[in-house]
């Protein structure tokens, strides 16, 4: 066997974003020997990009806020498809997790009386997002990173080795999870195999537990706000290990990403541009959002430009401008305008703030947007409109987990953060991801530690044959002579997902996407990688590509099955929300070379939580049968 580094741990956490770091901190605090494995340098995980804030009902700005209100907002945002128990735990525990960050050294913006300041955000009833300017994710990553370092300093004092109890394996990509053959038909987790990006050396982690915290899947789409790390590795690793994925059809598209120049396409344009008066226009100069107000929102949104414009100064006597409809509505509208050929030169629509506010006011109110467009697009947003279009932002679907323990169906496997499913239902509210990472990261760390304690002497064993097989399949890419270029295949995959499984979906298009994915899968077998195993991006991409193909198939297949429109899943051929479908979770599991989709009932919310909603509201989501079984108290 070729030279392979071996390490033994109690808990291996894959991912060093908010979820992974919080999980690792917890496992180490439970006395477990913990490894953190991540694809990038320590402190660079995708969480670093989060801007707006972290949602927690601390009630610092409005004391009426509490976990029940947060829970209600989260369920509404997810259109009642969330796992109620996850939403409950999340709402209850988020404040403690934020306060804990302060004890690690985080410096949030403050209220006048010195508490953590909280800001308003879409879908949240009260000001709820703890924040640091527009760089909250950076603060979170740095804080957790520094907490890990402080634990290492402790260990240096007690064990004379800073890495005795918690060690970071940066720039190490996991390609395969390992299992033993005991513990029932599933087999139990026994470790993971990966390679060091720097030199291509393979590493085996022998460990009874693996916590997946690998983030999202956005790099399968052409236009995305996500970084290169988002290749769905954790989703694919889970599937390959026999775990299940939940509701993969739900992908959030943010309505306003940059579209020009091509090199920055997808980078986020903050919602505040519209909040401050920015309007959307098509190539004919028409303010088109007025044509896209759905019936359910008619009452709250203005019908004329005059009324909409008056709202900014006099919100109590006028209705909101339709540019401020929920994200999914705006994204769909922009998409329709572009499809109808009324697009801007770069294929988006115009977001105009220049004609709405004096130049000075724009620079004052939107400094970072002014800066972003000036630096990256050479566009002066005080003088000309921006071009914007929807951008793939977040995946609600993910590994199916137990709400309290974050355990997947495979013994020893856990998942937390964006890679886990269920928490956000069909649509995530802004700010609810960062809190999700902390709440369920911690829970995963706790549960993995308890699982290790429960093992006693019966630790699962790593099979050398599996390790060698994982190694062989990864390096086989160097032997291929099929001549396919991984960069070209990736570009085709992104185009396919963008065009055919994007914001608006149709059965025929998804079917043709699946056909193309099949073809891409076949071509991926003919990839030829040039160069050697040392820091070789072509090779890395080829390996990531196999994960993107699995995950893309899950998205496309689930999307084809769910015949309704809800949150981050819009069917042109089934344009409405269906109470019957609300009762259904779609589960992806591996099936030979491909993916099978099954239906499973959505767990039923207990009466005390149902009682938090008005009967009127539940009527919009539930079937008549469900309504008739509600206890009287909810009426």
């Amino acid at each position: 066997m070729t030279e392979i580094e071996r390490h033994a741990y109690d808990v291996v956490v894959i991912g060093a974003g908010g979820a992974g770091l919080r999980a690792a901190i917890e496992a180490r605090m439970q006395g477990k020997r913990t490894a953190i494995v991540c694809k990038s340098l320590f402190g660079k995980a995708h969480t670093v990009m989060a801007e707006g804030g972290i949602a927690a009902s601390m009630g610092n700005v409005n004391s009426k806020d509490n976990w029940q209100v947060h829970f209600r907002d989260t369920m509404r945002g997810g259109k009642f498809l969330n796992h109620w128990r996850m939403a409950e735990l999340h709402a209850k525990e988020a404040p403690d997790r934020v306060w804990e960050l302060e004890t690690y050294g985080a410096l949030f913006d403050r209220t006048k009386d010195g508490r953590i300041s909280q800001r308003n955000f879409g879908g949240h009833e009260y000001p709820r997002l703890a924040h640091v300017g527009d760089r909250t994710g950076l603060e979170m990553i740095r804080t957790l990173q520094q907490k890990v370092v402080s634990l290492q300093q402790e260990d240096l004092r007690t064990h004379r080795d800073g890495e005795a109890m918690i060690r970071v394996f940066a720039e190490c990509t996991v390609t395969e999870l390992l299992k033993d053959t005991t513990g029932g038909d599933q087999g139990r987790i026994s470790g993971a195999v990966g390679y060091l990006r720097e030199n291509g050396t393979f590493v085996v982690f022998e460990a009874p537990t693996v916590i997946l915290a690998t983030g999202g899947i956005g790099k399968s789409f052409k236009v995305t706000s996500n970084s290169w790390e988002y290749t769905g590795d954790g989703h694919a690793l889970a599937m390959k290990a026999g775990a299940t994925l939940l509701n993969m059809e739900f992908v959030q598209f943010h309505p306003t990403g940059m579209v020009w120049p091509p090199s920055v396409k997808g980078i986020l344009v903050t919602e505040s541009v519209r909040g401050d008066g920015g309007v959307l226009r098509n190539s004919e100069g028409k303010r088109f959002m007025f044509d896209y107000v759905p019936a359910v929102f008619r009452k709250q949104y203005a019908e004329t430009e005059e009324e909409a414009d008056r709202w900014y100064d006099d919100p109590s006597n006028n209705r909101r401008p339709p540019e401020l409809l929920p994200r999914d509505e705006v994204a769909r509208a922009i998409n329709s305008e572009v499809k109808a050929g009324r697009n801007s030169p770069a294929g988006g629509v115009f977001l105009d703030i220049a004609s709405r506010l004096p130049a000075d006011a724009i620079r004052k109110k939107l400094p970072s947007m002014y800066h972003q467009f000036k630096e990256l697009a050479d566009v002066d947003i005080t003088a000309e409109p921006m071009e914007v279009g929807p951008t793939c932002h977040y995946v609600m679907g993910g590994v199916e987990v137990d709400p309290d323990t974050a355990a997947a169906v495979v013994p020893g496997l856990f998942a937390a953060g964006e890679v886990a499913g269920g928490m956000h239902g069909s649509n995530r509210l802004g700010g609810n991801s960062l809190s999700d990472l902390l709440v369920f990261g911690r829970r995963a760390g706790l549960a993995a530690s308890a699982y290790v304690d429960g093992l006693g002497a019966s630790r699962p064993a790593v099979s050398d044959r599996d390790v060698e097989a994982a190694h062989r399949s990864a390096v086989a890419l160097f032997d291929g002579d099929g001549g396919e270029n991984p960069y070209a295949l990736h570009a085709e995959l992104q185009q396919t997902m963008n065009d055919l499984v994007g914001i608006i979906r149709k059965a025929e298009e998804m079917q043709s996407a699946l056909d193309r994915l099949d073809a891409l899968k076949a071509r991926a077998r003919n990839i030829t990688v040039q160069g050697d195993q040392r820091f070789n991006p072509g090779w890395h991409l080829a390996l990531d590509l196999s994960n993107m193909l699995i995950v893309s198939e899950c998205v496309a297949r689930s999307a084809l099955v769910r015949e309704e429109s809800r949150g981050g899943h819009t069917r042109d051929d089934f344009p409405t929300m269906s109470p019957e479908w609300r009762k259904v979770n779609l589960i992806c599991r591996p099936d030979g070379d491909g993916v099978a989709v099954e239906r499973k009932p959505l767990p039923v919310m207990p009466p005390e939580l149902l009682a938090l909603f008005e009967r009127d509201e539940l009527n919009k989501y539930m079937t008549d049968d469900e309504i008739s079984t509600l206890p009287e108290a909810t009426a």
Binding site: T111, E139, E198, N485
Partner: protein, 447 residues
């Protein structure tokens, strides 16, 4: 639109390497990282480079472009002429791994040598109280994206590997300064910086500040203040002891404030200021204590000292300017200061604050009150309404509503005035401005 650019990219490893020539297509709007990606997709699939966010947020894509330490993703091709040769090389201060990727583990080792944040042991989570002005100084340093460009450019280690063991570098000087200025950190960071991290080896060339993509004023706001204060704590043990012990007095003042006892807070703060007249925390506590008692004119004397002590950091200065303008305005409103005598100071303070504020709305409440005390009611109403669109802490909002209410009353808009007043009262029933505001309102027949 596109053109072909000539690139020289360093390729090789820790043993050997050379600049390789490429001619590569460039399209409008592209950054250097786009060109590197194009090279990977076409001519050099195994060309090694680090990147993540491609938006200047993660600090992964550091390299040297024509010899300048830069982020590849934030360097636009339009900054070069079409005939220029663009040379991209790895960071020089760190060992090369392959091509543009260097071994930056030096920085992670240094990070582990800085003792971690050490809060008071008896402070429970959720009970941290810190004023915005006090956290802003450290927040500037926490903007750091760890691109290590400052480390790369610093001549102390750039071509001097032998200095590396003793020198932490600018990135970690700001980390130490951040902890030093953290309102709740309990360790002595200045001595630490001098004794264990080589602060003394820095001779303030400011090269680090120049390359920082986050525009952190590394030298002015972190290194120089640390050096200055190291001087007095380092060589004068009496000063050093004195600094540590009476600090408790300002802590006591802050505790009294938390408990709502303004006069006790005032006494503790004054006790501390007798020992150290410029103690930031005590000054702040005194200002709040005096304002809480409605003694705005005296508070203005305190904010004037704070302003003088605020140093050159933008965020500190802005906060100090804003606070000073605000208490002066409250003093005028309450009849404790004469508008004519201090208008010049108020106007110039406000103007300077506005220049440093990142958004105009930050100061809208002050502008509204300024207009109000001048009797420019319509302007005050307009600005007062604007403030209400913004998500502000309850007491700020209460203040803004109060100003709006007074201005509206002056214009005879009694209904709206009364409702603004009642919301203000709910948010902050103990607002010390209320007595003067109420009497103003009574004059106009509303209060």
């Amino acid at each position: 639109m596109g053109y072909n650019a000539r690139f020289k990219v360093w390729r090789g490893d820790d043993t050997d390497g050379e600049l390789e020539d490429f001619t590569v297509e460039v399209n409008e709007g592209e950054v250097v990282l786009d060109i590197i990606h194009r090279l990977q997709a076409t001519a050099a699939p195994d060309l090694a480079v680090r990147w993540n966010c491609k938006a200047g947020k993660c600090g992964s894509c550091s390299a040297e472009i024509n010899g300048m330490p830069r982020l590849l993703c934030m360097t636009r091709m339009s900054t070069f002429g079409e005939s220029d040769v663009v040379t991209v090389t790895p960071l020089r201060t760190f060992p090369v791994i392959k091509d543009l990727v260097t071994d930056v583990s030096f920085n992670y080792a240094k990070a582990r040598e800085v003792p971690s944040f050490a809060p008071p042991a008896d402070l429970a989570p959720g009970e941290y109280r810190m004023a915005q002005v006090d956290v802003e100084r450290s927040q500037e340093f926490r903007k750091c994206i760890e691109c290590f460009l400052c480390q790369d450019t610093c001549h102390v280690i750039r071509d001097h590997d032998d200095n590396k063991p003793a020198f932490a570098g600018p990135r970690f000087f700001i980390r130490l300064a951040e902890l030093d200025m953290h309102p709740l950190d309990t360790l002595d960071r200045k001595r630490e910086a001098q004794q264990h991290h080589g602060l003394g080896m820095c001779n303030i060339t400011k090269c680090c500040t120049e390359v920082c993509p986050e525009h952190i004023k590394i030298t002015d706001n972190a290194i120089i203040p640390m050096k200055e204060r190291v001087v007095d704590t380092q060589y004068d043990p009496v000063v050093w002891l004195g600094n540590k012990i009476p600090r408790r007095a300002s802590a006591a003042a802050n505790r009294a404030l938390d408990a709502g006892d303004a006069s006790a807070a005032e006494q503790h703060a004054r006790a501390r200021l007798r020992d150290k007249p410029t103690d930031r925390s005590a000054l702040r506590a005194l200002e709040v204590a005096l304002s809480a008692q409605g003694r705005f004119a005296e508070a203005a004397d305190v904010t004037r000292v704070q302003l003088a002590e605020a140093g050159r950091g933008n965020s500190n200065r802005r906060a100090a300017l804003a606070a000073h303008a605000w208490v002066m305005l409250c003093a005028v409103e309450a009849g404790q200061l004469d508008l004519e005598n201090c208008e010049e100071e108020i106007a110039s303070t406000l103007q300077q604050a506005q220049r440093l504020a990142s958004t105009g709305t930050v100061l809208a409440g002050s502008h509204a009150l300024h207009n109000l005390v001048h009797g420019r009611l319509a302007e005050a109403v307009e600005q007062g309404r604007e403030t209400l669109h913004w998500d502000r802490p309850p007491q700020t909002r209460a203040d803004d509503l109060l100003t709006l209410s007074e201005a509206l009353a002056g214009l005879g808009e009694d209904g709206e005035s009364a409702s603004a007043m009642s919301e203000s009262l709910t948010l902050w029933p103990d607002n010390p401005r209320l007595s003067s505001a109420r009497s103003n309102l009574r004059e106009t027949g509303v209060g």
